[in-house]
């Protein structure tokens, strides 16, 4: 291993944090032996059953798709079981990073400089800044915040959004008295998306900091955890990336609540299990993690992949690759087992989940290029393969079902007792692999009360778990169809666009969106059922749970996207809902306050930022001050004058986003727009502006405070 750089900590082994090879090897040998054994037994039983009358080509095909599926099932099963074992054994895990800190460490002041960065792209401004405020105040409460700086790194390409981000930044800094602590940076061109945004930060300011905490726009982290992460990094200079387990919070739809419940209950044992066998070669998930900046800058720049998108080009799922590059550079990538302090939000509806999966799928499939690249640690290759398999397995499952249907249509007699026994054993074994981890984790919760101490709540987790099994059973076949499509789309060259993730619904179910998205899946389910009816009634019965889920996918999508989530019956309750941590409580209080704010007309609200930058002298001044002055501009002055005139006489809706952006990038144009607007007679202006001049300062006394709660710090 090359000597790690970046840490200034004295008297500490520079490899601290890198698990000893002997331990890693033993753990992996144990884990993969179980996984391999399970897979071989499954494949062997399957072979015995299929080969009773000799193997046909279709039976070989079935066996081939069965093996990776069974391998994946085994990986999940053994990860969970190892996790439960680790959580319950009396002897502490020697690799537990929390054990590297002692009472003296906690008493020491933190002198390592840390940048907390939050890349954003057209996100809900209020949520971003209220989240940031909570993190900032939580960090302040630790008394160790002086060496932490915050950066909002914007790639937003909507003009109004951009201005709102700027005004919210200024107001937040003013309210928190945090000028010089919270910074805002807007890139002119969003080259290479999020990873490009982070790299841009590293190039400009990376040298100033020893560590970088990467957050997503919906991340929330407590000050206590942030300071502990820095202390762990200081004590373990061999760690390049330390990834926490972000728990899902703030869901208000059935899907969101089921997901966050499942994550709260099943997540910790899975994380413990992953930590057991991944050791120093864990994965980076792109956020809620701390990175050692010097090696990250030196070794983790992402090369473009050969060929064009979607297979090649810019690496979409950059985090796995950065983790592999960090490991290749000789630093470990570690998981930090956490149950509190690290949070994120999940997609609220099934459609939003699929949109996110579409991006992730393409990103993971791209890793095919990297699996065989030279120089990786073998575990990095395994991580890439598991990432690919997580989506390709859907296509394999689909093929498995299609082949099974075909075999049912061309049956061969099965009378050999050995083959029938193999079939029964395989069914039993598969059921065990699917349901045993859940049962064990549930029993663990009821006995230990890890999530909830009151017995009533522990028993309620039983009911919630039964119901989440129903929800996941209904959703899994639908996800299989979509993931299969995503894999095929990627292979045939249909790329994805970079879109903003929706994190909240506006309350109602969007039926048209659901119908358009799931009608084809329902039709497939009904057709398949009809086919199964003609093929074999026994087969139809066997496959009916899957076909039923497909046939009713429209209803399932509507059901899980609705706001009836069983909250009033105490179902799917998580520790964060039952006893919200301070950092979450603070954010939710502020978000509630803003919800009650007076709103302007929808058109003014839609273009709020643009309206303010043109009308308000202070917002205009702020925006011009933050723009970088350029000697030359990308477009001609005549063009800018023409679109400025259109903006004033026809309103913002007459300009497309490119034109609005061009206007907002030029200091002289933005300054002149302000005066031209105020100088024009009412009849010369578009109705939008005539209304705006009369109403724009009605919603709040300060244009800067419209998107933020009013929480002045005591002087």
């Amino acid at each position: 291993m090359s000597a790690p750089i970046g840490s200034q900590t004295a008297n500490i082994a520079m490899t601290a944090g890198m698990p000893p090879k002997r331990v890693s090897r033993t753990r992996r040998a144990t884990f993969f032996s179980f996984v391999g054994l399970g897979t071989i037994v499954g494949a062997w039983l399957s072979f015995i059953f299929l080969s009773e009358n000799g193997m046909r080509l279709s039976e070989w095909a079935l066996l081939i798709v069965f093996i990776p599926l069974y391998y994946q099932l085994n990986v999940g099963f053994w990860t969970a079981l190892f996790g439960v074992w680790l959580m319950n054994r009396s002897k502490p895990d020697p690799l537990d990073l929390w054990l590297t800190l002692n009472a003296t460490d906690y008493a020491q002041p933190i002198d390592a400089s840390t940048a907390i960065i939050m890349p954003v792209f057209n996100e809900d401004v209020t949520r971003v800044y209220e989240g940031l405020r909570s993190i900032y105040l939580s960090l302040e409460a630790t008394g160790q915040s002086s060496n932490f700086d915050f950066f909002i790194l914007s790639d937003s390409d909507k003009a109004s959004q951009w201005i709102e981000e700027e005004t919210a930044w200024l107001e937040l800094c003013r309210q928190l008295q945090a000028f010089g602590r919270i910074f805002y940076r807007k890139r002119r061109k969003p080259i290479n998306r999020k990873s490009g945004n982070v790299s841009d930060f590293c190039r400009r300011w990376g040298k100033r900091y020893r560590y970088m905490v990467v957050l997503d726009a919906d991340s929330l982290m407590s000050g206590a955890l942030l300071t502990s992460m820095v202390r762990i990094m200081e004590k373990n200079p061999g760690i390049g990336i330390l990834q926490t387990f972000p728990k899902q919070i703030a869901a208000d739809t059935l899907l969101g609540r089921v997901m966050q419940y499942a994550q709260a209950l099943y997540g910790p044992p899975f994380m413990a299990g992953l930590d057991y066998w991944q050791c120093g070669e864990a994965n980076f998930w792109g956020h809620n993690a701390i990175l050692r900046l010097a090696p990250f800058i030196e070794h983790c720049a992402l090369p473009p992949l050969p060929a064009n998108a979607p297979f090649g080009g810019h690496i979409l799922s950059h985090d796995f690759v950065e983790a592999a590059l960090m490991r290749k550079a000789g630093y470990s990538v570690r998981l930090l087992p956490t149950t509190r302090g690290s949070y994120e939000e999940g997609p609220p509806t099934l459609v939003d989940m699929l949109k996110r999966d579409r991006r992730w799928c393409q990103g993971n499939i791209q890793h095919l290029w990297l699996v065989f690249a030279k120089g990786w640690h073998p575990m990095s290759r395994v991580n890439f393969l598991h990432g690919i398999l997580s989506y390709v397995s859907s296509l394999l499952w689909f093929l498995f079902l299609a082949l099974a249907t075909f075999l049912a249509a061309t049956p061969t007699p099965h009378g050999d007792p050995q083959a029938l026994l193999a079939e029964e054993l395989l069914l039993g074994l598969t059921a065990m692999l699917i349901f045993l981890p859940k049962t064990v984790i549930l029993l663990d919760e009821v006995i230990t009360g890890r999530m909830f101490k009151p017995l009533k709540l522990r028993l309620l987790t039983f009911v919630s778990s039964l119901l989440d099994t129903v929800v996941f059973t209904l959703m899994a076949p639908v996800l299989m169809i979509f993931h299969s499509r995503f894999v095929i789309y990627t292979v045939i060259g249909r790329s994805v666009n970079w879109v903003t993730q929706r994190r909240k619904t506006d309350g109602g179910v969007n039926w048209s969106e659901i119908l358009i998205t799931f009608a084809g899946v329902s039709l497939l389910g009904i057709t398949w059922t009809a086919l199964g009816w003609f093929v074999s009634k026994a087969f139809l019965l066997w496959i009916s749970p899957i076909l039923f889920s497909l046939a009713v996918s429209i209803l399932v999508a509507a059901l899980v996207s609705g706001s009836r989530s069983g909250r009033r019956f105490g179902l799917f309750l998580t520790p964060e809902e039952y006893d919200p941590p301070t950092v979450l409580q603070m954010m939710q209080q502020n978000l509630e306050e803003i919800k009650d704010r007076l709103q302007l007309s929808p058109e003014l609200e839609r273009h709020y930022g643009l309206m303010q930058v043109c009308l308000d002298p202070y917002v205009n001044g702020l925006h011009v001050s933050l723009l970088r002055r350029r000697r030359t501009i990308d477009v001609s002055r005549g063009y800018l004058d023409k679109i400025s005139h259109r903006l004033l006489t026809e309103g913002p809706q007459s300009l497309n986003s490119q034109e609005l952006k061009a206007l907002m990038h030029d200091t002289d144009t933005v300054t002149n727009l302000h005066y031209r607007l105020w100088s024009a007679a009412e009849h010369e202006l578009a109705p939008f502006w005539a209304t705006a001049i009369r109403q724009y300062n009605l919603a709040s006394t300060s244009p800067f405070a419209h998107t933020l709660a009013s929480r002045e710090l005591a002087a």
């Binding site: 400009r204 065989f372 030279k374 202070y618």
Partner: protein, 192 residues
Amino acid sequence: MEALNIQFAPETGTEEEWNEAYARLADYFRAYNLHNRIRRTQLILETLRKAAEAHAKEPERPPTAHAIEQARLMLLEWFGKIYSDMNLSEAQLEATGRLGFHLAGGPVRWPQFFLDEENMPEDMGEAMRSALRTSGPGMQISKMTPRDMDLGIISDVAEDTFDRLGRHPLLRYSVLLVIVLSVLGYLYSLFA
């Protein structure tokens, strides 16, 4: 504070036009969050008087345009005095001045001195100068360049194939069609 002189008798322009100019100026100064109504009225009248002189020289432009232009000139002059020691362009001066006044708490602390060149409080000027903000700390440039990565022999073969398929959509779909037809052909052979 100087006495309020409400006499205003423009030589050019209609009463309606000047009323419109008055209303616009009132809105404009309100946009500065100046809640001191007396100071706001003083400013409006002062600006209107200057606008009336300008309108007499250039009557083809409406009084509202003259009024806002005069307000802008007054602002530039005032900011110019406050930031006289800084080398700022006109657009920078306007932006910095407006932002500085807001961040210094000018609308609340010194509303009566807004655009008052004669009685400018020293602490106001100081507060406005020190309120200059930038969005990021000083840069310390690092190089972050990707290292060469040997993707292995498979990538060479795959790259050529993808490039070729990417350049020729017909070829891409033909490959897909061949695969689908092969599967269908196999199925047919089994049932036939």
